[in-house]
Amino acid sequence: MKPTLKPMILALTLAAALPWSSHAAEYRQVQADQSAITFAYQQMGVTMDGKFNRFTAQLSFDPERPEAANATVDVDLASIDTGSAESDQEVAGKVWFNIPAFPTARFETRSVKALGDHRYEAAGQLTIKGKTQDVVVPATFTAQGKAGVFEGRFTLRRGDFAIGEGPWAKFDVVANDVQIQFRITANAGE
């Protein structure tokens, strides 16, 4: 019996030292260069799009325990790229984002629900221009090697956040609905 004991102990030691990958993979380290937040809206019936070049995200997600997940995304509104310098300047102003007074938009999760088939639903609060609204953001999660990719889209109504007041308050030229699309890549941390 004696000779078989040594390899068994070795195997047990090794197993203990290995990370329990499928259970303990918690995605926390956001990879900014592989993440993107873009938006699209209708202007005179034409689909326009743009993006935010800078944002930070703190998140913690364990596919085994999605209900314990949480995320906070802060978008630097001054990093907006609408496609034209004139518009970038315009939306920084008081009637749009009022960036000097409200430089960031924040999304904070309150609860996360698994829908099955790698689909999830994050309920949370979106704060833009000092106004907070409850939103439900559907997202998919895909593990890609040691990275995890969260992708999803949802629609916000700019009117709910007073984005575009005064002459822009009517939705005949710039529509009320704005589609937000995101792709956030996070690496698994220990």
């Binding site: 005179m44 034409v46 326009m48 496609g83 310098a85 822009w168």
Partner: protein, 180 residues
């Protein structure tokens, strides 16, 4: 001998002329406006009208190719006849190039053209800020050149009518006194 343009050629000439004056005036007016919903609306209208004129010019070119216009008066020196033809070729070339430059500019600036808000015109270029600015300069320059050629065109027509006293202007007008 035919001394008048065909009714279709006349209709196309005057319809396009009317739209072009509107487009030019609107184009020069709207570019200096501060950003507002009204400005975006005017840009959309300008683009819709521009696409319309472009299509009308294509119809007109097809008509021109298949219907010979009345010959220029015989009293005109050969050089002046050549100059007249060259001027007309230039007008046609600009009526094609200007809407194309506007379309390319819109594509590069990321503002797709949706004709009358219904029919999307495909974007020819990807969004590119520098290229968009360059095409804006091209669109403006072509239009300034077009205005110069138009002044020449109108001036020549008036000279034919009031100085040469020939039928070059009247044969493009509605044929009121035309014999049956």
């Amino acid at each position: 001998m035919t001394t008048h343009y065909t009714p279709v050629a006349k209709a196309l000439h005057w319809l396009i002329a009317l739209l072009l004056f509107g487009l030019l005036a609107l184009g020069f007016y709207m570019q200096d406006l501060p950003l507002s919903p009204q400005k975006l609306q005017l840009y959309a209208w300008h683009k819709w009208a521009g696409v319309t004129v472009f299509l009308l010019v294509l119809v007109r070119l097809a008509w021109r190719v298949t219907h010979r216009p009345p010959p220029l008066p015989e009293h005109m020196p050969r050089v002046m006849q050549l100059a007249a033809h060259a001027g007309h070729v230039l007008l046609y070339a600009l009526m094609i190039a200007i809407p194309l430059s506007g379309w390319l500019m819109s594509s590069a600036k990321g503002f797709q053209t949706v004709w009358f808000g219904v029919l999307p015109i495909p974007d020819l270029l990807d969004k590119n800020r520098e290229l968009g600015d360059l095409l804006q300069t091209v669109h403006l320059s072509l239009n300034l050149f077009f205005v110069v050629v138009l002044i020449g065109h109108i001036g020549a027509a008036l000279k034919h009518h009031f100085i040469d006293r020939d039928d070059v202007l009247t044969r493009m007008l509605p044929a009121r006194n035309l014999e049956p």
